[in-house]
């Protein structure tokens, strides 16, 4: 920095010589200050950039490098680096297991996001219709579900759906489904996914609902008045005023939910560790169990990278819009 400020300073200092030494010092500091101002943003950004490169960039690069290595228990212990080209990718992409898990992840994400968006929107619109007291009550309920830590929520759902003494089985039994009295929810693929889906949807609806409600409060009242002057009924004003106004919000939220659900490692792993029989593994869990559990670290890294690629593909539409929007704004 000192080197950079020194050089440009010399010119005004020379010119000033004739003016006498007195004004030299203040002018020079002013010029130096201008230099510092030009550098200031980069200095201010430096810690954030350094952290990002070191703690995010480097692991990503490392992930890429590992995915081209034959790295199992033996190589790990002996600290060997064995490059094996694209073998890991070839093996992963040729295995039917990977494709089964990938399709399962996409379907799981799709089902969750559809449920979250539909019910979140409905609850949000309901919030907008309620009186202030009832709205506050529902808001508190939503905030409690939203705030619940995923790991605590998972243990609570394990308990709600417990085979013995679980509330859900008791209720189903009382409702006449006596075969459900001792049902083991975590015993089959479908019912395990059902429990995880309920858990995720329960925790995610509040975000959509509360933010959607907040968005509806920003719709100008005049728009509705204008619509009703034009003879629009409740439904028409909903489709012609409310929905167009909410569309950008709904689009953004849908894609955020896709990102969150696709990566829902915590709930899926904590509820049953991907069981029964590895049938509820979604991609992040699959990468963890292949790479870490079975100690094929290179293979696991290849799966991880492919997972990132799939996630990017799923969200590319949204990312493009966001990036474009940000460019227009700046």
């Amino acid at each position: 920095m000192t080197v950079q400020t020194e050089r440009p300073d010399s010119r005004p200092a020379e010119v000033l010589k004739a003016d006498g030494g007195e004004r030299r010092a203040p002018r020079r500091t002013a010029a130096a200050r201008a230099r510092t101002t030009a550098l200031a943003p980069y200095l201010l950004l430096f810690p954030a950039l350094a952290a990002t490169l070191l703690l995010l960039g480097w692991p990503l690069v490392k992930n890429g490098l590992l995915s081209f290595q034959n790295l199992n228990m033996r190589q790990l212990i002996q600290h060997l680096t064995e490059w094996n080209g694209i073998d890991n990718y070839a093996e992963v992409l040729a295995s039917s297991e990977f494709w089964r898990v990938a399709v399962r992840s996409v379907l799981f994400t799709g089902a969750n996001v559809v449920l979250i968006m539909i019910f979140g929107t409905l609850v949000g619109l309901l919030l907008a219709r309620l009186g202030s007291k009832m709205r506050l009550t529902l808001l508190i309920g939503l905030v409690l579900a939203w705030a619940m830590p995923p790991i605590a929520g998972t243990t609570v759902f394990q308990w709600l759906f417990a085979q013995r003494f679980g509330v859900v089985n008791w209720v189903l039994d009382k409702l006449g489904f006596h075969s459900m009295a001792d049902h083991n929810w975590l015993g089959t693929q479908f019912s395990t996914f059902a429990v995880v889906t309920l858990l995720i949807v329960w925790q995610s609806i509040p975000f959509v609902a509360i933010n959607l409600y907040a968005a509806t409060t920003t719709i100008p009242k005049e728009l509705y008045e204008a619509a009703s002057l034009d003879g629009a009924g409740a439904w028409t004003s909903f489709t012609s005023v409310t929905m167009p106004f909410l569309r950008p919000f709904l689009l953004a939220t849908t894609f955020l939910e896709v990102i969150w659900v696709f990566k829902a490692f915590t709930q899926v792993f904590a509820i049953n560790e991907g069981g029964p029989d590895r049938l509820t593994e979604i991609l992040p869990v699959y990468a963890y169990i292949e790479g870490f559990g079975n100690q094929h670290f290179g293979m696991g890294s290849a799966i991880a990278l492919l997972t990132i690629v799939i996630l990017l593909a799923l969200t590319s539409y949204y990312l493009r819009i966001v990036l474009k929007q940000e460019e227009d704004e700046l």
Binding site: A145, M148, F292
Partner: protein, 281 residues
Amino acid sequence: MSRSRSTASRLRRIWPNALATVLTLVFVFPVYWMFATAFKPTGDIISEDPVWFPLDFTFEHFQTAVTADNFWTLVRNSVTVTGLAVLFSLVIALLASFALARMRFKGRRGFIIAFMLAQMAPWEVMVIAIYMLVRDADMLNSLVPLTLFYMMMVLPFTLLTLRGFVGAIPKDLEESAMVDGCSRPQAFIKVILPLLAPGLMATSLFGFITAWNEFPMVLILNKQAEAQTLPLWISKFQTVFGDDWGATMAASSLFAIPILLLFLFLQRKAVSGLTAGAVKG
């Protein structure tokens, strides 16, 4: 005719409230059941018919949870890691957000886009690579890498949200302070920082929640019991204590209470903070 119409209109007025009541119950019930089970005597927990409203209270399950091996060590670990991660990210983000919100310079757009992408970093699938890096640095079972990576997890969100908050403060305030003889850093500390306080609170709340709840990374990095954090302990509790639901729910309650309180306390700010950061940024 008129009577049926009045019933219809009453119905129209009532159904939103009825629906809202049912929904409130649905959303609250799991949280309620966690606390109810935690306070119930074991006899009421393992009963053929659920005891909906516990009349006998007991702290026995909390006793079990709190006296479990390493509980206080894990509390200390969680608090240390979370607190430091949030603090570091706030400081770093504050500097950067000031540059991004207030200054014009080359590459500014690129930086913002980079941080937006960083916000979506798939940490859950990067854990294998992170394990290798931490292992090579001989730092497994240490709180240092956890703190650093948690800081990085919350940094982009903190930075982008604070950028919004800084941008919302009128530039005139700062400029008039500078006219009055403050230097730019002084103007920042004396004028902007106090106005940023609510923003800092909301932002750090979300950083706190992310770091407090983090599970996959500590699962991989810290196998040693004394080096773990609370989420890992909660996830294993039921297995370790063999279907002791009372103690499991007590442990979950202890873990969830700080977050639930923070959320209820900061609800409004939380919502606007998250909207600003997540949807816009």
